[in-house]
Symmetry: C2
Subunit: 279 residues, 2 copies
Amino acid sequence: MKSRRQFFRLAGTGILAAGVSSVYGSPSASLLKEEAKDLFTLGMAGYTFREFPVEKAIEMMNRIGISNLSVKDFHMPYDSTQEQITSVISKFKAGGINVYAVGVVYMKTEKEVDRAFEYAKMAGVKLIVGAPEYSLLPYVEKKIKTYDIRLAIHNHGPDNPLYPNSTDIWNNIWDKDKRLGICIDIGHTTRDGKDPVFDILRYGSRIFDVHIKDVDGSTKEGKTLEIGRGIIDIPGVISALRTISFTGMCSLEFEKDMKDPLPGICESIGYFKGAMKCK
Amino acid sequence: MKSRRQFFRLAGTGILAAGVSSVYGSPSASLLKEEAKDLFTLGMAGYTFREFPVEKAIEMMNRIGISNLSVKDFHMPYDSTQEQITSVISKFKAGGINVYAVGVVYMKTEKEVDRAFEYAKMAGVKLIVGAPEYSLLPYVEKKIKTYDIRLAIHNHGPDNPLYPNSTDIWNNIWDKDKRLGICIDIGHTTRDGKDPVFDILRYGSRIFDVHIKDVDGSTKEGKTLEIGRGIIDIPGVISALRTISFTGMCSLEFEKDMKDPLPGICESIGYFKGAMKCK
């Protein structure tokens, strides 16, 4: 059943279209190959839509044909009631958008951890993308056990002493509950002088979510830009995700031209989908 | 000199960026490899901007980072004076756009052939993308010899009895001047039930220009859409262009959402660039 759903999901994004509809040969072989290869799905990180209301975010996602969203708090405040949260989730659903995660959620106190898990529960998602203070990790682990909600820690590169890269996250989580994992941000990873391809391969067992983007440099000064215009080895990232049989979301977090992001979103998603055609 | 220019052109489009700037290994080997591979350049077919003035076309091309244009007559009417043509070409040039061809130019009479070559000469381009009536081809050949301007015949698929596909063009030009060639439109080729990959390989010696796009079916009813969402084997097209050492332009002719084409243009160019990463 899962693989059938996977097939239709891929077909819907156009990823399998060449295989499905090719008039030039038997589609079955390439179809099965693609199906086996791409267990992951494309999504959007809500931060991309910081400057826009929910309606406009939905419109842009429909335009580019992406239907999975990690929702950010400016669209669904942390202090929302169940009714308010249900209303936001329903609005996305009516627009064809599946909210698969909340985040990035920063947590500085136990109270904020409590709130994050209640918030995720009310939203009906099974994944929090977050950044809890290091000292809160034992408390976070308890919450994961209580709620059976996974938490993927997001790395933020050299700007922030909290989780600069996946190695730092791994060192803090490897001995904890298996539902505590990593949301690898390939842009911040690169800006921290690390290789996202290597980190995906090395920490694959605990990677729950991926923020895709591109950057123009491998230092703190590296600026984010359209995928394909920067230095990240996107086919390498895709190949690594296939190697670890990643079944989660590759969510575009587009942070350039934030007041007019649609062209850059489209170029980025287009590029990623094109690079997915590489064997 | 040419290969140095080639390098900077590729670097400017970001195609070589991973090779140039990679922090993870020696860039020189992959750099040379890419340089040898991608002799062609991305461009835009002017028809894409049918609904927009020159200024807006320039703005959109700059946004997506494409600098080569095959200009269409609604931006530069056929009955323009030299001054008017120079003014349009200069406007594009000031906006960072190189007009490399004119067209598609339809020619039904000898007078229209005369006008097309004078028009191209005044524009300072060495390539006309056109569709002269079959009976005019001997006359066109004479003009090619006089002007030393190449003419690439554009195929229009099953909607039009004039040059439905590359085989039809080839059959009409193979014994004529080598400067009479083909602008293969991969969308119309597919809609005509033909395989653009096969046609590029078969008629490579006379392909001067390529119109890139995607379509959702292999019949007349096939509709055009964002590259990557249709059935055309884009990595196959790219591979075929590399095989024939194509040195011309792959110009996007985007004919969906013509009143709001930028998102689709960006997705299409992004996809094509991503697929260019495939070996």
